[in-house]
């Protein structure tokens, strides 16, 4: 069957089951948008900026576990999507970004809106393609989705020159692809898993260090079974929140720089660390040479380069978290007397002592300024029964959300961890809302971050994506101000944001709902009202501008030396 490249493109998306894409047109992709316009299976959400499209695709992917798709034009369209590509690469988010390109015969001629899309994106994608012949388009799109979603997930870019979209070619969409240089390992090595079982049986003070990989591999059930079976407490990275129920007695919440006291003391003093789909980031390890000094380390990861990159590993297991945990659980069950609950008791008691000694708390005097932690806590209390999806921007508010918003299910937490991209939150929330029209989607934003992609409020309103954005407005780049307090003698160089814009008026300008709370007593009211609205809402909450985020391990510090104020 002969189809134009643009028609092939749309057919391929249908075969991949893509329901929604995010994008913004331009000269070389008009043909594709034109074909999209004439069908109903794939919905196109027009964004106001390509960075918005990229982050929406990420939010969609994180919330659904399926690949997010963006379509942008050549030149500036492509360069605007570079930040989301790098963000997705750092956080292993499966997105497929299609860029337009000048016609093949003009490539390399500095043609109008030409950029070296594959050259620019090579270091920020898992893989990328330039399609030179319309007859290859189907095969390439199949490979793009396959690469983005298998192994360690990541972003893939497909660059489609204008003539390839216009020309007719043979449509072939293979059912499967095989790429000789790409064979991700899913099954863990049995011998290594057996070593892990023995180490677990022997351990007196084991701890699970769970990362984003547990979410990508949908391993929450296996993880729960593993923890309960072995009575091993669970630390989570920022990216893993929701992989294990945060309200479970074995959960120690988030670990690392702003993690809970108990979580960091536990890794530091453990004798066995079981890393599960985590990559030993420096925000977690602190000073690498003193990370879990007494412990043996088991590391389950699908990407061999993650293993032994930063930290010594005694029992490496290359494989998929879900597959490996299944095997591990089966072997543990086959040796039920390997360890005893008694054996774990002193360790669990110690951990409970740490938990009790320094829980994550805050003090909110009724007539003082609003504490940001209090706001998060209230939002959590009002929404916890509604199973919300929560996105964040980057900064203090992100850390407070991670600490105080308890998540019990995976794919509910959308945050930018590796790159720490301000402006991620609101578009990511829109991506999730586009995937789940009936779900409650919240965005906890900073006043600084929100301004980096606030144009997408228009996308929210026009496309009826009723996200609830809570801006913890401290009139500062708060996280920067905190570091200036701690390490630059309180000189607030370029961190004060002043009092503009008026976010309530801004909401109204977009024809969204704008609400504001300036006193503690007003917080509950605005939350309730926001939740009632069937439109996008911006809630501007004036919080204590000088509140710092604790606990905190200073960069390069050691995990048992937590700085605390409360």
């Amino acid at each position: 069957m002969k189809l134009t490249g643009a028609e092939i493109f749309v057919e391929c998306l249908k075969r991949e089951g893509v329901k929604t894409i995010f994008g913004l047109p331009g000269g070389v992709v008009l043909k594709i948008f034109d074909i999209l316009h004439q069908q109903k299976d794939v919905e196109v959400i027009l964004t106001r900026h390509e960075a918005g499209a990229g982050h929406m695709a990420e939010g969609y992917a994180k919330a659904t576990g399926k690949p997010g798709v963006a379509l942008v034009t050549s030149g500036p369209g492509m360069t605007n999507v570079v930040t989301p590509l790098v963000d997705a690469y750092m956080d292993s988010v499966p997105i497929v970004v299609f860029t337009g390109q000048v016609p093949t015969h003009l490539i390399g001629n500095d043609a109008f809106q030409e950029a070296d899309n594959v050259g620019i994106s090579r270091p920020c994608t898992k893989y990328n393609f330039l399609v030179k012949d319309v007859n290859d388009l189907g095969q390439i799109i199949k490979e793009a989705f396959y690469i983005a979603t298998t192994g360690r997930p990541g972003p893939v870019l497909v660059d489609i020159p204008k003539d390839v979209a216009m020309n007719k070619g043979e449509f072939r969409y293979p059912d499967r692809v095989s790429i000789r240089g790409y064979n991700p390992t899913y099954e863990g090595n049995k011998w290594q898993i057996k070593q892990a079982v023995e180490a677990i049986h022997k351990a007196q003070k084991p701890i699970a260090y769970v990362g984003g990989g547990a979410i990508f591999s949908n391993a929450h059930e296996e993880l729960l079974e593993f923890a309960e079976l072995t009575q091993i407490p669970v630390d989570m990275t920022l990216m893993a929140l929701g992989a294990f129920p945060g309200s479970h007695p074995l959960s120690l919440g988030m670990m690392g720089m702003h993690g809970s006291y108990a979580s960091n003391m536990a890794v530091h003093f453990s004798d066995l660390v079981i890393a599960i789909g985590a990559r030993f980031d420096d925000r977690v390890t602190g000073k690498v040479s003193e990370f879990c000094p007494e412990a043996k380390v088991i590391h389950i990861d699908i990407d061999p380069t993650s293993i032994r990159k930063n930290v010594h590993v005694d029992i490496p297991i290359v494989g998929d978290v879900k597959t490996v945990l299944r095997e591990l659980n089966a072997m543990l069950k086959a040796t039920p007397n390997g360890h005893s609950i008694e054996q774990r008791k002193p360790w669990l008691n110690q951990i409970n002592e740490w938990k009790a000694k320094h829980p994550l708390t805050y003090v909110q005097p009724p007539d003082a300024l609003i504490k940001p932690q209090y706001v998060i806590d209230r939002i959590y209390q009002f929404t916890k029964d509604k199973d919300p999806i929560v996105s964040t921007d980057v900064g203090q508010h992100q850390m407070w959300a991670a600490q105080h918003f308890v998540l019990n299910k995976p794919h509910r937490w959308l945050t930018s961890g590796g790159l720490g991209t301000m402006g991620f939150g609101m578009p990511a929330a829109l991506g999730a809302q586009a995937a789940f029209r009936d779900k409650l989607v919240l965005c906890i934003a900073g006043d600084g971050s929100f301004q980096m992609n606030m144009q997408e409020m228009a996308t929210a309103v026009v496309n009826k994506l009723p996200v609830k954005v809570f801006i913890l407005n401290n009139h500062f780049h708060g996280m920067v101000r905190q570091w200036q307090d701690l390490f630059y003698e309180g000189r607030y160089a370029s961190s004060y944001l002043d009092t503009v814009p008026d976010f309530v008026k801004l909401a109204e300008a977009f024809n969204a709902v704008g609400l504001r709370a300036t006193k503690v007593g007003e917080v509950d009211g605005v939350i309730k009202e926001a939740l009632k609205a069937d439109k996008p809402v911006i809630v501007d909450i004036e919080v204590d501008p000088y509140e710092n985020c604790y606990p905190m391990i200073p960069a390069g510090g050691c995990n048992h030396e937590m700085e605390r104020r409360i």
Binding site: V118, G119, R122, P123, K126, Y127, L130, I147, I179, R180, G181, Y182, N189, W191, Q192, D303, P304, T305, I307, R308, K309, P316, V318
Partner: protein
């Protein structure tokens, strides 16, 4: 320590840049690099000479394996191998030096591949020490230009895919 790594790759556009990006982006060093198609023209063989301690070499091998266009990686230092390099050396020759130049070329089994009234171009092939020794001896005569291919190397016996995982594990797995 110096390592020579053979990397079998897809013979397609952009692959060299993917591999080069990997080294530059992660701060690894490429001391020499050569690339050419294999018997099967859909693939190319790269020979990369690099430096690093065990931990770095382990990461380099893993990172190379991770590149989707890379089909096979062999760290030749883990086996016995032979290596060769070719240099073309153009020397400025005064009348009285021409005989000496030929003599040196001869000692190293080099060939004069071009000659003009004032120059000789000598081709020398061998392991790196031999090539360098020859260059050192010719230097006093006045080397005008020098080009080297970078090394190519081949294992003496067939080897299986190198350490995608570290050596220790490969041993344990057997």
């Amino acid at each position: 320590m110096e390592h020579i790594i053979s990397v079998l790759v897809e013979n397609k556009f952009g692959v060299l840049s993917r591999v080069a990006n990997l080294f530059s982006g992660r701060g690894y060093n490429i001391e020499a690099l050569s690339v050419a198609p294999t018997l099967d023209p859909s693939m190319s063989m790269m020979t990369i000479v690099t430096q690093g301690d065990d931990r770095i070499i382990e990461q380099i091998v893993k990172q190379l394996n991770k590149v989707i266009d890379v089909i096979k990686v062999v760290d030749l230092n883990e086996t016995e191998f032979v290596q060769r390099e070719t240099a073309l050396i153009k020397i400025h020759t005064r009348q009285e030096d021409r005989a000496e130049a030929l003599r040196i070329a001869d000692i190293f089994r080099g060939k004069v591949v071009d000659s003009t009234p004032t120059t000789y171009t000598i081709e020398i092939t061998g392991d790196v020490r031999k090539v360098e020794a020859c260059i050192n001896l010719l230097q006093p005569l006045g080397i005008k230009e020098l080009v080297r291919t970078g090394r190519v190397a081949i294992a003496r016996e067939p080897v299986r895919q190198a350490a995608a995982q570290p050596k220790r594990i490969l041993k344990e797995e057997k």
